[in-house]
């Protein structure tokens, strides 16, 4: 079933009786060509592009709970490609280009809104760094514009420009950045994959791998053994736990990241703003809530809830930037578990186990990468070679000293 304006009007006039479920609920088959573990954004995007772009045949997505119920359901929905390093910028720009055509591609309204992202500058050194980053972005075909204080004042008059510690001295804008309805991303990909024959199997937890002579033959699940020629893992914050079942240790620690949403307000924030000095970011959702977040809690956690010190830290940063925030009530806060990799960059690679592939370590930047991550992981699964824009995301980069350390924090996952 294709969605269209005509279809909506027709259904409105006939009592909405013609809508059908957007995806099936199939029972797992005995074996598949490719099994993808994880029914989040990345797993579903991988299945979608495998089926659509790479001619995959018998594909299943296994999800422990319900699709889109993990990290893709609890992020701050920002898309952007404002990276500096060669290993990253082409990948994220590829992702942003896919976002731009996504709704037409999978015929689903993901509410993609290119409202722009603005990284604020507070010091002269930061201006130099952002000019360099903007140039790196433009060299890779992305858009970037250095804004003056006057230009920012016109758009965000309510910010605290003359803060004694962190005066706003300008900003680096990417006008093509913005926000997306995160649930719709999972649903759109699920619907598109299902329509192309992918089995999306929910409530099916992977409990182990069947590995014989160094080759992965399939996965043990709560619904029985499922054989597969290739198994791809895309389970976000659970990567460490899942890959331990295959006997692997990863260059990853799991940490909790909190995010926050305020009560609904009338439109006040035109775009996404990030506070470079204190690590705070904020945008306004289509429902009116201010959505914001800051640093991770900074210690290993699977608790899916944070602690108060980080709440205070984030809100202090917010108040330093937007004094008006003090009058706004906080509606809710939530915590998701992030794969914090040792250099802050992701991994899309084969493992040393034959037929077992890994996609993870997205730190807290996985959402904006969803389309490119799915595309590149599908490319790897289908052709056994990395996609040109993801060649740097290999396991061996740590051993070989080719880390993609965007923040320059070294092997300190809690600082990325």
């Amino acid at each position: 079933m294709r969605y269209s304006g005509f279809k909506v009007i027709k259904e409105a006039l006939t009592g909405h009786k013609g809508w059908t479920p957007a995806w099936r609920d199939p029972a797992p088959q005995a074996d598949y060509d490719i099994v993808i573990i994880g029914g989040g954004g990345h797993g579903l995007a991988t299945a979608y592009y495998l089926a659509k772009q790479f001619g995959g045949k018998r594909i299943a997505v296994l999800e422990k709970g319900w699709i889109g119920g993990g990290n893709v359901g609890r992020n701050t929905t920002i898309i952007r490609s404002n990276y500096l390093l060669d290993g990253n910028e082409p990948f994220y720009e590829f992702s942003l280009k896919l976002w731009e055509g996504l709704e037409q591609d999978f015929n689903f309204n993901a509410m993609i809104s290119q409202r722009g992202i603005l990284n604020l500058i507070h010091t002269d050194a930061q201006r130099d760094a952002f000019i360099r980053r903007g140039n790196a972005m433009m060299l890779n075909g992305a858009d970037a514009e250095l804004l003056s204080v006057a230009q920012i004042r016109a758009r965000y008059p309510f910010m605290n420009f003359d803060n004694a510690r962190f005066p706003i001295k300008g900003g680096l804008a990417q006008h093509r950045g913005g926000t997306v309805r995160h649930d719709a991303v999972a649903w759109g990909y699920a619907r598109g994959a299902d329509a192309r024959g992918v089995d999306i199997i929910q409530n099916c937890e992977v409990t182990g791998f069947r590995i014989e002579n160094g080759i992965c033959k399939g996965v043990e699940t709560s619904r029985g053994f499922i054989g597969a020629s290739k198994v791809g893992c895309a389970v976000a914050g659970s990567s460490g736990r899942l890959m331990a079942k295959a006997g692997m240790r990863l260059p990853i620690e799991s940490h909790v990241l909190q995010a926050f949403v305020s009560e609904g307000l009338k439109p006040v924030m035109p775009g996404v703003v990030t506070f470079g000095a204190g690590h705070f970011y904020c945008s306004q959702s289509d429902k009116g809530g201010l959505v914001f977040g800051g640093d991770i809690d900074g210690y290993n956690s699977y608790a899916q809830r944070g602690n108060l010190p980080v709440v205070e830290d984030v809100v202090e940063s917010g108040m330093a930037l937007f004094p008006m925030l003090g009058r706004v009530r906080l509606l809710r806060m939530w915590g998701g578990i992030m794969d914090m990799s040792m250099d802050g960059s992701p991994i899309i690679d084969r493992t040393h186990i034959g037929g077992l592939y890994f996609n993870g370590g997205w730190c807290y930047g996985g959402f904006k990468a969803t389309p490119a991550s799915g595309w590149c992981f599908a490319h790897l699964l289908a052709r056994d070679e990395p996609h040109p824009v993801a060649t740097a995301y290999r396991f061996d980069r740590f051993e070989k000293g080719r880390m993609i350390d965007e923040k320059g924090m070294g092997a300190q996952p809690n600082l990325h």
Partner: protein, 95 residues
Amino acid sequence: MIINHPLLGPRDAQEFTYLGDASLIDRPDWQAPDAARTFYEYHYLRDNPAGEHRELWFHEQGDRSWLVVTRNTLTHEITKVELAREVARTRGRSA
């Protein structure tokens, strides 16, 4: 979170800085023939358990001691706090 410091008593976790897995005490021998491999594993690979986890916390805004804290990563419950110095000594890492 409250960390029960063995010398100073209960302190707020905000006074501390987190380093990571307590296995970082076990620095490999740099002269061993397989040092490149063991340092890669020591430096980058993690067990990353869901449940009990021994980890290093630095009392940066206190007595600047290093602690080994045993904490449950699913519940944030802290069951044991030791001086990292003592832990290192029992493993023969320190005088």
